[in-house]
Symmetry: C2
């Protein structure tokens, strides 16, 4: 084994989650303790910060503040949506990265993100190898969408699922207070995969929640949707619908972007939920309300899952441990172990190439035949991931989030 | 003192809150223990349920399930928005109520609601008195809007304020993750009073939250709004706005319903937040997102304030104690006591006539001169009301709400 010594960079990428900072903390603390890692650098806004040489010296942070990262939502270091070109097309960014890596003697690169970020990791690693610069690159998974390939689930998903299920339960209580009910449509994130929308069904499983759940994995049929809503509304006096923002017609058009929107004169405003609400109102005459859970889904750390927080931390830690032990070009992934009905989770490594740009969808057999609900295997899959409560620190009964100093790092003195 | 014996009815009215059931529980448990109260009846859907003779026998409920009401949002007995005519115009409903009251020997009537409900209470009490039917009527305050006159604050407000402040803090974390920021507009409930919108400023006080807060108490000036947003966006690279759904122009038109909406072609969909977002986008060119906290504000019991829960319970209990001790035609109100900076709260009674149909607004001097933020006295007022965490029971890490049997009550056998 090569006892490679040098600095590490930790970067965060893509849309934030309630626990991406827990992964960063796992990596930062593990790296600070490692004898092989000489300096721990945080990248401002992911790869963009590296390109701009905006690096923070994480050893200069107050350890107590760092600890709070475990319960601080969003990306404390800053995130980006920067997509690097293929090096064969334009290698400017890669050469710049190599320059920075050399300048700071960076031998470890940890990148926390989704599909695109794993692709970025992979390209960077390949370029460094071709340039003869030794650097180990490990990806840390992250996405509320839970659509990363090769891992049982993704850090961030469990907490988002818990917020969605909890909110759907609470909204359901609210819906049935009047004698005359209404149709309520809850719009949930997830552009291609229905993991989040399906999680709304946990509310129904746990007591009372949506009557109908629509995932992007099954082609959306507007007529059937109207029929289902109308039937349940007539039967129960109310109807609650959870729908993924990503539902599509059989021809692949997003319902949210389809021509149907124009029919009702709203091309600019209101999301899918508002559009479906309007169409139900016109079709059935029912009173309809739509609710968009919006950003709250990915940042509601006050109701985060302890399991998710702990696993996110574990993923960051595992990334550093893998790298210092000689691994590179891998992503940390989760393996689910169920023994005597008890869930546990351990980390494994999979090749970055394997995971980059592949989307994991909800298996069709976990969705009911009519495509308006999920089956028990889906519930069994999600339920362990939302378990346990956060230990978020509060001041005056409001969240006390980490306040980082973000001291700019100086180049390596050699 | 008249040891009046008889049944009591407990009803819930108007929009639900996270703690209205805590008030119901306080009243139910207190009434079940009272020697003067012979039966405890819950009205299905408030006064509507009384008129339809839909009454539940609360003694038949499982005591453990009743206890869960303390942490169950919305109106467990059901609510209504029924407005009774003045008895001088049409006394049909009142005569029907008298008939039901006689049939079930109802001598105590407890009604949990807002302005309108106190008006209802008052009319019912006056009618019973004129009919020579002895019945004591006590109102229990309730509204997330906090706009009831004669009480320091209202049960339900503290929990809604806490959800709003917590969510604004979390959203603010999310907003600043990218290098390029955006304008984010959070739309908050409150048709006439700005207590809820102002509570978003708790987030800013506690760490980081909205840069601008708009309440309905100050006439909204669109040009100034654009200027303020633009200035902060240019200065900080992002801007977070909290705005009450009830903001109005100087001439009294709601901004949400004003002609400005049509200019942008969206008369049907999207609330105020979406409309303002669109206008900011056109005026400043900034990237803008709007978030509507929607129903979550009034039902997010998982983040309810312990202070609010306890006070709501106390209000229900105080109502029963007042009635059995001979009081009638009163509403339970809160008196704030601050000693050595320590907040406490006790109940008092005020005349129903005093409170009915009067709205309590945020004092102008608690809002800053430009009308885009609140002053310290507002923060000092709200902060004690959001303190402490709920003891909500969970199953599988999801809320376990009360499941009532709702056994129909039989008329009094005499």
């Amino acid at each position: 084994m090569n006892p490679l010594k040098g600095a590490c960079i930790i970067g965060q990428s893509g849309g934030p989650t309630a626990v991406i900072n827990a992964s960063a903390l796992g990596a930062i603390q593990s790296a600070l303790q490692s004898e092989q890692v000489t300096r721990v650098l945080g990248a401002a806004n992911g790869i963009e910060g590296v390109l701009k040489e905006r690096l923070f010296d994480m050893a200069r942070e107050d350890p107590g503040e760092l600890e709070l990262l475990k319960y601080t939502p969003a990306s404390a270091l800053g995130s980006c949506r920067y997509k690097m070109a293929a090096p064969s097309v334009d290698d400017t960014d890669y050469r710049r990265l190599l320059e920075i890596f050399r300048k700071y003697d960076v031998r470890y690169f940890f990148y926390n993100g989704g599909n695109d970020s794993m692709d970025t990791c992979n390209k960077i690693s390949k370029f460094m190898q071709q340039s003869g610069y030794e650097c180990r690159v490990i990806g840390i998974p992250k996405t509320i969408d839970n659509d990363l390939h090769g891992t049982d689930h993704c850090p961030g998903f469990g907490s988002a699922a818990k917020f969605i299920a909890t909110s759907c339960m609470e909204v359901h209580q609210d819906l049935r207070v009047y004698d005359k009910g209404r149709v309520t449509i809850v719009e949930i994130m997830g552009r291609h995969a229905g993991w989040l929308a399906g999680s709304a069904a946990l509310a129904t499983y746990a007591g009372a929640g949506p009557d109908l759940v629509y995932l992007p994995e099954v082609p959306f049929r507007m007529e059937e949707f109207w029929q289902d809503v109308d039937r349940i509304y007539r039967q129960n006096g109310s109807c609650m619908v959870a729908v993924s923002e990503g539902v599509q017609y059989a021809d692949g058009r997003f319902v949210a972007e389809s021509g149907d929107r124009d029919v009702f004169g709203h091309t600019q405003l209101g999301g899918l939920g508002a559009m479906l609400a309007e169409s139900v109102k016109r079709q059935t005459g029912a009173k309809v309300r739509s609710i968009e859970l919006s950003l709250l889904q990915r940042c509601a750390s006050h109701v985060a899952s302890k399991t998710d927080i702990d696993e996110a931390y574990m993923a960051g830690k595992a990334a550093v441990e893998a790298a210092v032990s000689g691994q590179t070009d891998k992503m940390v992934a989760f393996e689910r172990i169920t023994e005597n009905g008890i869930y546990s989770c351990k980390t494994k490594l999979i090749g970055l190439e394997e995971v980059a740009n592949v989307e994991k969808l909800v298996p069709r057999e976990w969705i009911n035949a009519r495509g308006n609900g999920v089956e028990q295997p889906f519930i069994d899959y999600v339920l362990p991931l939302i378990q346990g409560e956060t230990a978020m620190q509060k001041e005056c009964s409001l969240p006390r989030f980490a306040k980082l100093r973000k001291v700019p790092a100086k180049p390596e003195q050699r």
